[in-house]
C-alpha cells in the first residue's frame, strides 16, 4: 500500500517537472514569435511612410532620382521576404537607402524647413527607433530561448516540446559595425 503511494507521488512529481519545463519552453518560443511579429508590424509602418516621404523630397529635389530609385527598389524587395535572415537583409537595405535619402534632404534648406517634411522626419525617426527596439526585443527573446534550449535541465525537454534554438535578427549595417569608442 505505502509502496504504491510512494510510486504515485514520484510519478506525480515527475509529471509536474515535465509540465513546468515543457510550458516554459513553449512560452519562450511563443514570445519569440510575438517579438518577430512586432518587428514586421514596425517594418510595415516604415514601408507605408516611404511613398509620402519620396514624394515630398521629390518636390524639392527632383533630379536626385538615383536616391529615390534605391529607396523604392529596397522597399519593393522587402515585400517578398519571409525568413528571419531575408527580412533582416531587406530591413538593412531600407535603413541604408533611407539614410541616403535624408542625407540628400540635408542639402535642400527649403525642403528641411517645410512643415510636411518636419512631420515626416519625426514620424520616420520614431519609426526607425521602434524598428530597432523591436529588433532588440526579438534578439533578447531569442537569447532567453536559446539559453533555455542549450542549458540543463531545460535542454532535456526541448525535443519533447519540439522547440529548438532560433536565429538572431542581424542587420547588415556598416554604421553599427564601427569599432566602439574606447575611453580611458
Amino acid at each position: 500500500m505505502s509502496k504504491l503511494l510512494i510510486a504515485l507521488a514520484v510519478i506525480a512529481v515527475l509529471i509536474l517537472i515535465l509540465v513546468t519545463f515543457y510550458n516554459r519552453l513553449i512560452r519562450l518560443n511563443v514570445a519569440v514569435d510575438e517579438a518577430f511579429a512586432q518587428i514586421e508590424v514596425q517594418l510595415k509602418r516604415r514601408s507605408d511612410l516611404i511613398p509620402n516621404l519620396v514624394e515630398t523630397v521629390k518636390g524639392y529635389a527632383a533630379h536626385e532620382s538615383a536616391t529615390f530609385e534605391k529607396v523604392i527598389s529596397a522597399r519593393a524587395k522587402a515585400t517578398t521576404a519571409t525568413t528571419v535572415a531575408d527580412v533582416a537583409k531587406a530591413d538593412g537595405a531600407i535603413t541604408q537607402a533611407l539614410r541616403g535619402l535624408l542625407a540628400v534632404a540635408e542639402a535642400y534648406p527649403d525642403l528641411k524647413a517645410s512643415s510636411n517634411f518636419l512631420l515626416l522626419q519625426e514620424e520616420l525617426s520614431t519609426t526607425e527607433n521602434k524598428v530597432s527596439f523591436a529588433r532588440q526585443f526579438y534578439n533578447d527573446n531569442v537569447r532567453s530561448l536559446n539559453t533555455a534550449v542549450k542549458t540543463i535541465p531545460t535542454s532535456f525537454f526541448a525535443p519533447i516540446a519540439k522547440v529548438s534554438a532560433r536565429e538572431f535578427y542581424e542587420v547588415e549595417d556598416p554604421q553599427s559595425r564601427q569599432a566602439p569608442n574606447v575611453k580611458f
Binding site: 517579438a35 527607433n129 527596439f133
Partner: protein, 305 residues
Amino acid sequence: MDQVSFRGMESANRRKTYLLLAGMGALVWVVVFSALTYFGQSTVGIVPIAVGIALISVWGSYYASDSIVLKMTGARLLQESDNPKLFNVIQEVVIASGLPMPKVAVVQDTAPNAFATGRNPEHAVIAFTTGLLDAMDRDQLQGVIAHEMSHVGNRDTLVSAVAATTAGAIALLSDMLTRMMWFGGGRRNNRDSNGNPIALVLSLVVLILAPLAAVLLKSAISRRREALADATAVSFTRNPAGLRSALEVLAADSTVVHQRSTAVAHIWIESPLDARSVSKLFATHPPIEERIAALKAMENLGPSK
C-alpha cells in the same frame, strides 16, 4: 566587470530587495516574539488585528493606486492627439520593454519630475510634470520614460505596498503594545512565570525601536528599487547616456514639485522632498550623484549586446 553591466546591476538590486524584504519579515517575528516575552500569551490576539488593519489600509490604496495617485498629484490624463511626440517616444520604450501601453498623464508643475503607478502593468499610469516635458530633449525623455516603465515592469507599486504593509503592521503593533504597557495590562498575569529581567528589558527596547527600524528598511527597499529601475531602463534603451543626462538636468534644477506630501514622495523619479533636511538613511532615493556615477560606469562599457 559584470557588476557594472546593467544585467549585473539588475540582479544585484533584485537580490538586495529580497534580502531587505526578508529582513522586514524577520523584524515582524522579532516584534511578535518580544511582545510574547513581555506581555505573555494573552497578546497573541493583537498580532492578527495589527496585520489586518495594515493590510486593509495599504491594499485598498494599492488596488486603486492609479486613480488615487492621479487625484493626489492633480495629474491629468493625456490622449495621443494632445502630444503625439511624447506618445511616439513612449511607444518606442513600450516596444523595447514588451510591456502593454500605459496611460499617460501630465502634472501642471514647473519642477521637472515624473512618476509611475498602478497595481499591475495593465493598469499602469506614467506621469510627467510640464516642467520635465519642457526641459528634456528626446534622448533624455526616452531615459526618463524607460525608468518609469521599469518601475511598471518590476512591479514596484506592489513591492512598496508589501513594504508599507509590514512597516505599518510593525508600527501598529508597537503602538498598541506600548499603550498596553502604560495601562499595565497583560503583564500582570505573567509576572511569576516569566521573570528574566534582561529578556524583559531587551523586548521592551525592541518594541520601542522596531517602528524606526521598519521605516529604515522601507526606505532602503525604495532606494534599491530606484537603482534597479535605472538599470532596467538601460536594458530597455541600451543608452545609459540618455537617462544620465536627464538625471543631470534634475540634479541641476533646484525647483521642487509643489505638493510636498510625503505619502507619495517615493513614486517620483527624483525625490520631491528637500534632500538636505532628510538624513541619508531615511531617503527614498539614492543620492542623484550616485545614480549618475552608476550610469556613467555603464556608458564606459561601450555598446552592450
